[in-house]
């Protein structure tokens, strides 16, 4: 073992002292640069907070923009009692919760079947799932728009300009990734476990609910957070497919209704953006480790 030997070299040896001081110096530099990067990374959210606490009068005077001289909660009060803003928030919440539910139901079933029960073409499908994840929504929104117009002409079902159309669209973004990481988690469960269950006479449903879901729970939580974050943040689909104020979700709602002509009410815009950013931030504050696990698993696990 080389490691302990290196550690117990007598302190009198010249190299070691400098190695320790090297390490301490590296640590100080690390802190120094990390502080700089944290300032860079946290400036926009902090600036949102600063602006949200200001009155419009203070924003339009030329005083120091980085400081609040007369803090007020007026912006929060106005937004949280404004029916339009609450509608955006409600739409976002409903869409995200339903999309997460649909996504998890579809991807857990699919991942279970693809990781354990082979059928004709299942290996190709697993690869296909990953490739689908790489197709961006910016490539699909135009044909989808045309398809939805077409559906309306033929069946009379009006798909455009309803918030629930997002329930059809968002799963295309969340399902491939969630299935992909669930396949990874499910594959890591030892085969003996489900073989034993099969011998004991368990059905596939029992196998899934009694073994796979409990054992792969961290992966399921990671996928759930991911699905929520994606559907909460999505901007292109609602921008292209919804226009009426009562159908909008938060990101589009804030941008299209709080900016009136050339008048930017920055206090309210920043408050709205901060409140819109709050749910993912809160979830992440409590479940950071799962979120990170999900992120890293996505690109590394099979």
């Amino acid at each position: 073992m080389a490691t302990p030997a290196a550690a117990t070299v007598p302190a009198s040896r010249p190299g070691l002292g400098s190695m320790r001081s090297d390490r301490r110096r590296a640590l100080y530099w690390s802190y120094f640069f990390l502080v700089l990067f944290v300032i860079f990374f946290l400036t926009p959210p902090l600036y949102m907070l600063i602006t949200s606490l200001k009155t419009s009068a203070e924003i339009s005077t030329g005083t120091n923009p980085w400081w609040v001289f007369s803090p007020t909660l007026q912006n929060y009060k106005e937004l949280l009692t404004s029916p339009t803003y609450l509608t955006f928030f409600r739409n976002s919440a409903i869409v995200s919760v339903l999309v997460v539910t649909i996504t998890m139901a579809v991807s857990i079933l699919a991942a279970f079947s693809l990781s354990r029960m082979k059928f004709w073409g299942s290996a190709t499908l697993a690869t296909g799932v990953f490739l689908t994840y790489l197709i961006p929504e910016t490539l699909l929104f135009i044909p989808l728009f045309k398809i939805f117009v077409f559906v309306q002409e033929w069946t009379g079902i009006e798909l455009i300009n309803h918030w629930w159309v997002l329930l059809i669209l968002y799963p295309t973004l969340t399902v491939p990734f969630c299935t992909w990481i669930m396949i990874g988690y499910f594959s890591s469960i030892p085969k003996e476990l489900d073989e034993a269950a099969l011998i004991d006479g368990a059905s596939y449903t029992q196998m899934l609910t009694k073994i796979f879901i409990p054992v792969a729970l961290p992966g399921i939580i990671a996928a759930t957070i991911f699905a929520f974050t994606v559907s909460w943040a999505q901007f292109l689909y609602p921008l292209a497919f919804t226009t009426s104020a009562d159908q909008l979700v938060l990101p589009v709602g804030i941008i299209t209704t709080l900016i009136k002509g050339d008048v930017f009410n920055w206090g309210q815009i920043m408050t709205g953006a901060l409140l819109g950013a709050a749910p993912p931030l809160i979830i992440y504050a409590f479940l950071m480790d799962y979120y990170i696990a999900g992120l890293t698993a996505g690109a590394t696990k099979g």
Partner: protein, 290 residues
């Protein structure tokens, strides 16, 4: 027994069916359909072959969008990867106890919905009340027309993209760094290697696979970016900051020329395809290793 296996694969197929339906009808079909759409005329009544493409090739704006998309994606990914690598190293240097807090703060840009955080940047760049210019001016320097000047506007969209995406690289590289065995560094230290040699001969080779997957993946996402450019500049000034996605939106949805919009967004396909092939290769190699 034969019956049993047949039943098993039937159940398996049924379980994967919702996934197949979603991917087939909402991803694959639209993707193929957009190829067809791109060959129609504006009112979508007539087949015009490749006329939309040759029309695009003659337009100056199109070449500007190509140039800007490439500059945007390559520069942004380069700086994201660089900053991500540095920050990951710094966090990795810290004692294990303090890492969680720093990691938490550094990942915040990635968690905030980009449309929201870009609004904050838009306000930071505001022409008359710009918080950045206030700092410059208080030092006696001249303010910068952040979003009014084409060069600064390009700089701004790249900066915001780097800000948003660097944490992702940081977290991926941090995970990769943790998997490099500590003994290798100790052995190198005994051999008298300096930090550059350690980086060059241990860290980078050990992380090569994850670096290439992350870079390729980010290249796809950045190339297809929509939110940041749309909110920050909406393509302006005079179309100078449009990327494929935002220009396709302008032409296809706002300009009501669906075939031409489809045509514009199709230009992303070859680049996505190439990147996807390499990612798939790296991912399967990674799976093979473990």
């Amino acid at each position: 027994m034969k019956n049993f296996t047949r039943r098993k694969s039937a159940i398996a197929f049924l379980m994967a069916l919702p996934l197949i339906v979603i991917i087939g009808s909402l991803v694959l079909y639209p993707a193929i359909y957009s190829l067809y759409l791109a060959t129609l005329n504006k009112s979508m009544e007539r087949f015009v072959g490749l006329a939309n493409f040759s029309f695009l090739f003659k337009r100056e704006t199109f070449w500007m969008v190509v140039k800007q998309s490439v500059i945007f994606a390559v520069t942004a990914v380069f700086f994201k990867a660089l900053i991500g690598l540095f920050v990951a190293h710094f966090v990795h240097n810290l004692p294990a106890k303090g890492q969680r807090m720093w990691r938490g703060m550094l990942l915040v840009p990635w968690v905030i919905p980009p449309a929201m955080s870009t609004l904050a940047w838009l306000w930071l760049f505001d022409p008359s009340y710009s918080a950045f210019n206030w700092i410059f001016e208080s030092f006696g320097a001249k303010g910068i027309p952040w979003l009014g000047d084409p060069y600064w506007a390009r700089f701004a969209v790249i900066l915001v993209n780097v800000w948003f995406g660097a944490p992702f690289f940081m977290i991926m590289y941090l995970a990769a760094l943790k998997s490099v065995p500590e003994q290798l560094y100790e052995a190198a230290a005994i051999d008298g290697a300096n930090w550059w040699q350690k980086l060059r001969f241990i860290t980078l080779p050990m992380m090569r696979n994850i670096i290439s997957i992350t870079v390729l993946f980010s290249l796809i996402v950045t190339f297809a970016n929509f939110d940041i450019v749309r909110v920050l500049t909406a393509g302006g000034p005079v179309d100078q900051t449009h990327v494929f996605a935002t220009w396709a939106f302008r032409v296809g949805i706002e300009g009501n020329d669906i075939p031409l919009g489809a045509c514009v967004s199709l230009f992303m396909l070859p680049i996505l395809g190439i990147a996807a092939v390499f990612i798939l290769r790296d991912v399967t190699r990674r799976v093979g290793e473990t």
